[in-house]
Symmetry: D3
Subunit: 188 residues, 6 copies
């Protein structure tokens, strides 16, 4: 059962939050969990973990993002890739409730060719970790971006909450699905 | 590397196609693969593998569907649940190219509250298997449905091909992703 | 989250209950679950799945047992062996609350050298399955046995309930444990 | 096949012993192994790996403990949780041979409400590791404790040996169990 | 620890021996094991499990083979593929002790372009299974073959024994290897 | 699909090359890959990861080796042990094409009792890594060695290329094998 939390205060994200047990140490949530908070995002080259970003020396910066940190206590990095994608899909589908058309390209979201998101998934020794950031404001971002504010999402916290609940529901459905389907033992 | 094939001839789907190596025996494709074909879909209660369907005795019938069978040679049923969802998302996103707005509810797709799809994922002794059917025509279906024909998808084969290529691309990206991200060994 | 249920009506156990989704089909509990019920236990040779029992042609019979069926939707048979043992330990510890001293020998329980239990763990295509039976009455059993009745356990259903809650609590603790411990990345 | 060793000389335990290959480097035992030794136990906050202990800043101290270090060369932390519990159960059952009634609460052992044990399980990059300490003497411990000396366990080394042999036997039985049980392929 | 056995009496192999627990039921060896026996090999199409053989309708026949059946109680079919190859290599290397030059092509062995071996690996619900057959005599085989007799291997049982001991030693080395190597936690 | 590359320039190997993503960072090959290069090999004690080497303080030195680094993006150290062995076998078999008789002892290769190779397999947080070095020249090596030059292998790069292609082919065959074999569901 995924635990979720929207944190009301600002936390600036610099990459050091993407760490095993950060959610537990910061918020006291034990076990699989997703948390959301607002804050500036600025990741320096030495903290980047996507080696292609490192190679192209692409800066990661946004003046204000809605950040999600998700931790699952298994260590399957492939599964984490699927979960990351599912989370991006869930954001897209929540935005569609506001009649905002979103393009997903892999694990990135675009609105009117403006990049809305950054996202990364990795593993620690005991868990897999996902960070997703959605621009709220876009001033000073290094590429053409879109932001939640300009898209008309006023209540950021409510939005964050709904996204995480959708994700949680997806996970529960996948679990239930797995428990209700007959396997196929024989082949003719 | 997923192999894909659009089969031009009609095959009626009655559930017996959802079997280990069916793709190999029928089409000679060895290894992870997705194939598409058109045909009537009619699954009797004793062939159903979704136990909730069995419980509610819900008939599965469509006069003409675009069918996809996907086989992955690993046996992780949880992963299969994520892949099934990803495949549904990919269909939704391909339909959005035609400006058709689609609602995804778990592993079902809806257009204007009409059910477009049936889908199931399960495992055999050596693989996981997914079947997805999209109504082409909808006459005689037991619930309110939507069909590709009425949505203006004329070239069904081309559509099927694009969906499978999108899916293939997603899988490749997830693999590449896994190979370019640094793990996080220590926690402070 | 394990679901648990004490079924009030008698079900005779002949081995055919140890099957994937039996709990779901019989009681509607979807997902990992443990259920308890009373009934005669009589397993014929062709239904036995412990090959050593088959080899020695040892009959399994008890006029009235408290039966537990446990299903976990993963397929790790080694883990199932540990869980089976944990369940036996939990029964022993619940009996100790009644000041009944119990000897555990592997996955069997003894009171005053009388065999209290039968137990088996196996896997299906989608799950692992455990059956545990505790003699309530012992008339006609093929070996020297002990029974809950003679040990003074009057409220069998309450006892069953407590055992399953203990087991559930153990599982939750193991999960929480896994989520609160730092890994050790480096060796000196 | 688990290797076991009772080390006769004192080693003080400060947490740095819980490391991959420590057993091999110290005692030359290669592969899955359990070793026992006596020594003071004093783990400072920065060496603690149970984050709840860290949070509550609970000191770990005992003037003299019987320590067990166990290393299994797989990396399944969930399984390690089950093994840790099994080891505690095995200690409890060995103490029962001396007619000492022991309460197990999760992975802790109590005698007459005095805490007998500390225990932790974690993983390294190549293995899972368990530390269990049983008070021999209890002077100066931060909570109410029980100690093996006062319980009448005179021959600590013999006791340690028997505990490890019991544990080894359990592991072998679980393995043999796994190899003698028929799987259940079909469901009706 | 792999158990090994050379059975002195003839058993004709028709494919039904490749089954979970066959070794245990036939020889009483519990757990991972390899057994060898001599016998005619004749596998009819409906018993074949290599689907490419089925497709090309290639008969499997030899008047007298040295047969090995190997069972490992895990269910990783990929690992079984590596083990099968390792077993073929080990046969090749044992034959090299007799100065017989052997060509390995995948999981087949050839001497002077004559096919020496048949081999298959698959999985059951609880284990992986390997069958390897080496021609002793070659009369009536459907393709050009080589046989142990004509290669000068006189003591078939001793040969079988040495092959299995080599294989066992390889497995033990791989296990020990795994236990003595440091992981690499960080990347610069 | 394994990517392979023969690097024409010299790189001296000191152990720091055996690291996650080294191949990607150095050569831009993303995903499972094998690369070959020539260079001096000199690994100091603190960089050694084979703890038995560390224990016996055995120097690793060769004036010029053909080095292979192989990275697979899964973290199964047991599988890595099998792959390491398969790679050594493949080198042996390629040398046999030149009519050079090679002795394999575990993961070492010998020609006329001269040690031809060093080799190690380990894991990082995201991958398994293999290093294999084959002496080209042997001056100053601490034990009796054999070198490719004296064995008459003139075109080292072509040799390296063929070895890696053989290995790649083996991996592909194992994969295809896994996809064409029927599982065995039931036991009689």
């Amino acid at each position: 059962m995924l635990k979720t939390l929207v944190h009301k205060e600002t936390i600036n994200y610099d990459g050091s939050q993407l760490q095993a047990h950060w959610i537990y140490k910061k918020f006291g949530l034990l076990g699989d969990a997703a948390v959301a908070f607002r804050g500036e995002v600025k990741v320096s080259l030495d903290k980047m973990i996507d080696l292609i970003d490192v190679k192209v020396k692409e800066d990661i910066y946004s003046p204000l993002m809605l950040n999600f940190i998700i931790e699952h206590f298994d260590t399957d990095l492939e599964l984490a890739g699927y979960r990351q994608r599912l989370f991006m899909v869930v954001i897209k589908e929540e935005l569609e409730q506001f009649e905002i058309p979103v393009q997903r390209m892999g694990d990135d979201l675009y609105v009117n060719r403006g990049k809305l998101s950054v996202s990364i998934a990795t593993r620690s020794l005991v868990s897999t970790l996902i960070h997703v950031g959605l621009n709220i404001e876009t001033e000073g971002t290094p590429v053409k971006t879109a932001g939640l504010r300009e898209l008309g999402i006023v209540d950021i916290d409510a939005f964050a909450d709904k996204v995480m609940l959708r994700y949680k529901m997806e996970l529960e459905q996948i679990y239930e699905y797995r428990c209700k389907v007959k396997g196929i033992a024989n082949e003719s």
